[in-house]
Symmetry: C4
Subunit: 260 residues, 4 copies
């Protein structure tokens, strides 16, 4: 696989993944979106089909779209270690592009949402701020960009991300194809439904980052975008959806080497 | 591919697409439908399986069912430019037939809905009209036929349609088959889920036309049908779901040529 | 295909189809079911996967499971006319078995539901009967067995069943396989999603029988079962979900012969 | 198939099945989960994709993941009887590991839920215990681990589990592959959707164990875990989701031998 294949496939594929994945969070969250309050099933299927669409488009690079997947495949010997930096860099770039496109697509909805006094509170603190977030560090639209815990507990939050990512990477490693993710139609479909399943089953506590680029890239975009009343980017949590998935991928690759 | 293949496949296939796609909007919107208020997930899966069914039936013509897809394939060199007018004409004809069949299928529901004073208001304006639409130009059932924006903003609305269609066309162009859409079972299934994904993720602001025929054909039918109290057809918006998808398809085809 | 293949495949396959299809209606309708009020999306996916499961099991007979499908395939020349009576007889037998198994599976739920005064009214008519059905002819659980219209209008109801069945049969006939329904994994999956799509999009007015055996067999079981307070079986409507699908299948087969 | 293949595939595969299956029940049930109240459709798709993911990973052992499936395949002659104990033992071990991982993943949510006075009642019985369960024997989170009936009736509960498992095993036996479950992509996908269908259609009365290991393993974990206010493990019901599925599998295998 050439460097250009990796760069183009991973950048465009991850951009599409984050555009659609962040998009469904915007669609379900924001005021004046036709999909507002469509619920958790919409979010999980939305992210699953985001994986499907991104992986479909990124066939030429093996469609990792996720540093944890790249790490797992490298440990398993299916990706050269020398290609890993290019994979991860392209994924980060793609994630930043994708999150920016979410903002473009939902521009008017972001504006309507973030200027609604019921959501962001009034500028006069004596009337009390409306708090709609689980944690004071997180702004009212951060969940469209990055994940966050419902119960803030470093050990549990890390454990949840490790376990969920280990399931993902184990499913990908046992796909039984020799190189890459096996981006045949059926392979992509299976992986997409695995991701829907992980979301439905293991997404409740932290919002299932299971992908460092998916969380860190959009968090950077949240920090940089000129959104009114956007609140904090919760940088104190940011290391968990990076470290957890990488540890989970390493564990899955180790288990796969040992057992399979 | 013969002209008769194109005409028959695209006309019947697009008619089925719009019958099922418009049908799910009618099912979820209208009074005295068993599916009333079934929600956004029902609408997006309904449109996805409308694509699946229409594409399945239209295999012989390559199952474009969408002028934007035809344009993208023509730019990419997979469809002869001389066939493009026949493709688009057949798609428009099919869309008009499909939207008319939605009206036949939901005849009693349209009547019940449009004669309900709570929905269409009373004829005496001194009691106040009930306004249930985002924009005064759009009638209470226009959403069953055509798309419309939640926040009316030409730049954002165009951008949303451009981005969403670019994702669709990029997914189709990277499907890696030499001619047409690759209407194998798996190919159709993948494209259907891509469309569900686009709806879930990018449909919130404008209702994701992503297909000029899907929007313009039914809008013409809405304008012509003898529905009581149907309200306006919002012709002021009509150019956006035509222009946006065509620009998006061209951008995707350009990106595909450049990068892939 | 031997007579024994047809009899076994169609009887068992249709029994499974109706057990699962009637089952999801019971699950969503009845008191003390974990799935009560799970909504229209649950019903349509439930019926789709009922088709998937029944068709999967009935591969040996071509998995028609539906007299309208058998008629369409016979007109198209893919099934011998001399086999048609055995197909339809087996489908009717299977439907009766399946509907009976729904009653066994949901025995306690039927009892709880039909002895609840809020649902079936009090025996003292002076306090007024609770009317929860669209039509006085239909009992409170008839919808678990058979279909019924939301707006009772012979012409529209027939038209809806004709159109919906024509879409189904056209999709099956264009599947491009030479004999039977093509009960490969992918073929079955596609047909199942076509049925989900028809349900979401065209099921609103009449509940999409699109299969004479699916409607008539369970209606007979409803008439015979010793259920308390079950109400009428609405025989006045019973001919529409038989005639409509057969006409729709014939139209689809004719269109297919003409156009494809 | 070697003993090591069976042990590794079934243990890891069943652990993933129960982690994801129990996980979706935790996600939908527990306080401070992002998926709380996501509904029955989320539960049934969650379990279906749990099967998909577990079966995918357990390809090397034939992906039974269920003593009832192993029994059905053994009766049908596709699995050696001498391998049956290892299959079932590995499945039980995997189920216990999986249920424990659910607890780890949702640690903070379990704690929040089980210390909420509105859910578990106050320690002062004079104020009255809040009863949120169908049966006094079952604690407030038992449903995350094991199944239980909405209407407690031994005959009906057994019948429901027998019928639902017979459908599952019949679908697997007719899959037409010579050894194991045919863990090709499409085969796994089909089986997953069959399980979603069984859940939607036949899950209402008892919660569809259809797998002795899926019910008994997590029930043991529920009994052993140091959860506050967890209530009883309902051992009086525990034999039904073991016996019912085994009888259903035997009936399906018998019917398959007789008829197919």
């Amino acid at each position: 696989m050439s460097s250009s294949d990796i760069f183009i496939g991973e950048t465009i594929g991850t951009a599409v993944l984050i555009l659609l994945g962040g998009g469904v969070c915007a669609a379900v969250t924001l005021k004046r979106s036709k999909a507002q309050d469509a619920g958790w099933l919409a979010i999980t299927f939305g992210w699953g089909f985001a994986v499907l669409t991104g992986a479909y488009i990124a066939a030429r690079s093996g469609a990792h779209l996720n540093p944890a997947v790249t790490l797992g495949l490298a440990i398993d010997g299916r990706v050269d270690w020398s290609d890993v930096p290019l994979y991860i860099g392209s994924q980060m770039l793609g994630a930043i592009i994708g999150a920016t496109l979410v903002w473009v697509t939902y521009y008017g909805q972001f504006r309507a949402h973030l200027t609604d006094p019921e959501i962001v509170g009034t500028p006069n603190p004596s009337e009390g701020m409306v708090d709609q977030t689980a944690t004071p560090q997180a702004g009212p639209v951060l969940g469209i960009f990055s994940t966050g815990p419902e119960v803030r507990n470093v050990v549990q939050n890390l454990a949840t991300e490790i376990i969920a990512t280990a399931v993902l990477v184990l499913a990908i490693l046992t796909q039984g194809q020799t190189k890459g993710l096996g981006v045949s139609g059926t392979g992509v479909l299976m992986t997409a439904f695995v991701v829907v399943g992980i979301g439905l089953s293991l997404g409740g506590p932290t919002g299932y980052a299971i992908n460092p680029a998916r969380d860190l890239g959009p968090r950077i975009v949240h920090a940089l975008l000129p959104l009114p009343n956007k609140g904090g980017s919760d940088w104190g949590y940011a290391w968990i959806p990076v470290a957890g998935p990488l540890v989970g991928a390493a564990l899955a690759a180790g288990l796969h080497k040992l057992a399979f």
